[in-house]
Amino acid sequence: MAEIVLQAFRFGFLLLLWLFIFAAFRVVRADLFGGRAGRVTSVPPRAATAGRKRGNRGPRHLVVTAGPLSGTRITLGEQAILIGRADDSTLVLTDDFASSRHARLTNRSGQWYVEDLGSTNGTYLDQQRVQGPLLVGPGQPIRIGQTVLELRS
């Protein structure tokens, strides 16, 4: 085989390998910033979403709509909300069908997730039993025993 061909193989293959990595990086990049690579508009939209998030978009209150505590309203902050019969819960239930540590609402970047903490009778979001963490939309009923809660803005 001619020497020039071997040299072409040698550098050509390395080039091919790095082209693949370049292609992979483009995918990573598209994933990070969204849309096509090469558009450097990521900063303004991000600031815009942050501003919107600080506004009145997210839910501000947790309201009990049914059950013994009906009418109770809790203002939502950054912290997680523990619901159960235990005294140190954020919302202390007096519901015979609730466990002492029943469920938890956690805030992850402005969104609230409900999570069952291994309760006996289960937590329901809409009609669905909560197994893992589920995203709670505003007005979606969370049922714990006889108590029904929902998020309101």
Binding site: M1, V5, L6, Q7, F9, R10, F11, F13, L14, L16, L17, W18, L19, F20, I21, A23, A24, F25, V27, V28, D31, G34, G35, T49, R52, K53, R57, G58, P59, T65, A66, S109, G110, Q111, W112, Y113, D126, Q127, Q128, Q131, G132, P133, L135, G137, P138, P141, V148, L151, S153
Partner: protein, 469 residues
Amino acid sequence: MSGPGTDPRAATAGDPTPTRRGTELALLAFAVVITLAAQCIVDLTVTDSLSPELATFGTWFTALWVVAHLVVRRFAPYADPLLLPCVAVLMGLGLTMIHRLDIAGDQLGGNSSGEDAPVQLLWATVGLVLFVAVLVVVRDHRVLARFAYTLALVGLVLLAIPAVLPNSEINGAKLWIRVAGFSIQPGEFAKICLVVFFAAYLVDKRDVLALASRKVVGLELPRGRDLGPVLLAWVASILVLVFERDLGSSLLLFGIFVVMLYVATERASWLVIGVVLFSGGAFVAYQVFGHVRVRVDTWLDPFAYVDTGGYQIVQSLFSLGTGGLFGAGLGGGRPDQVPVAKSDFIASAIGEELGLFGLVAVIVLYLVLVERGLRTSLVVRDGFGKLLAAGLSFAVAWQVFVVLGGVTGLLPLTGLTTPFLAYGGSSLVANFGLVALLVRISDAARRPVAPPPATPPKLTDAPTEVVRP
């Protein structure tokens, strides 16, 4: 908080979340092209002609990835598009290097151990079967958490088998079991079982491990009884070291457990405790075990032991040095000079023929693979998935670090394999299983959340409206 507006994932596009399967297919095609190009270059450079087996190899290799892609498309449509292509390139490079070393062995004649590349391709096929099986059977990774203790038992048994069975010793380490002419390394599978167990266990216990702590000299130390699990992992890895004389697995297991503890609890004190326990164990092992001392001595000064234990590492260093920046070209070097170049020292073969640029490309491919795994861990919503993805990706990263460190003389040599690259059936099959789990978790992570199509729509339909007061 009405759906897409505040969801960082949905914010990127108003239209439905892209599955990115097209990207995956394109990159897989690229990976196959790279592999075939490498095979052609090797054949042309060494023998001046294309071997007739190349057509079979090409068809088989392409078919392998087409099947993998179709299975992902069907069973994990939102999976990460980069996991499979990275694996494909790494495996293709590995197969090419093994094929190249096969040819070198044939040319020298005599002691060639036969053709290893077809065997490796066969193992890859077995690995693909496992990949498909995992994706088809495990529809939701959280199911695995229920079998945590069973998997722990399976893992420990797999780890223990070679220590108990006779006739399992190869090169001083008791790692293999021989079944029907094949040597199987059950430790590779034990690794995955144990990572699953660690993840499930730590999700349960992380609050205790993270919160009940005392402050000692600025460090948050956990209570004595909470140290139990980490001590247990330490003892287990020491036992592996004693009975199987395997430095690599022992290091791998302990490293994975400490890092998973750290990820679960966010307490840096676990890392400190891990390093202290490791240093203690390493010191004692150095004093007590001859084989550990040999490894360390040859690492500190390989040229002093060039006639005995240091020969391999010295050859590997020469090999890397010969490669230089751009390498000798595929088929242009003499990577067969390094003993067991096909398995433990495949990285030095790549370093010799593709040079620093090629070896760094390989490392970057691993980096992309690990980054995608860690990203999956960040995005996925359940704690078990987070820990599992982090543990699995760390296992890959740690293995690559330890092996490449050994080959380049940065760390003492251990017996770990380079995932997907090195010759060895068990390692390849087990790592296919590992990637299948990552694909499964990344599918769960990237599935759109706002209007969840994952939940059966029947439940969220009419009855909801009726119940609402």
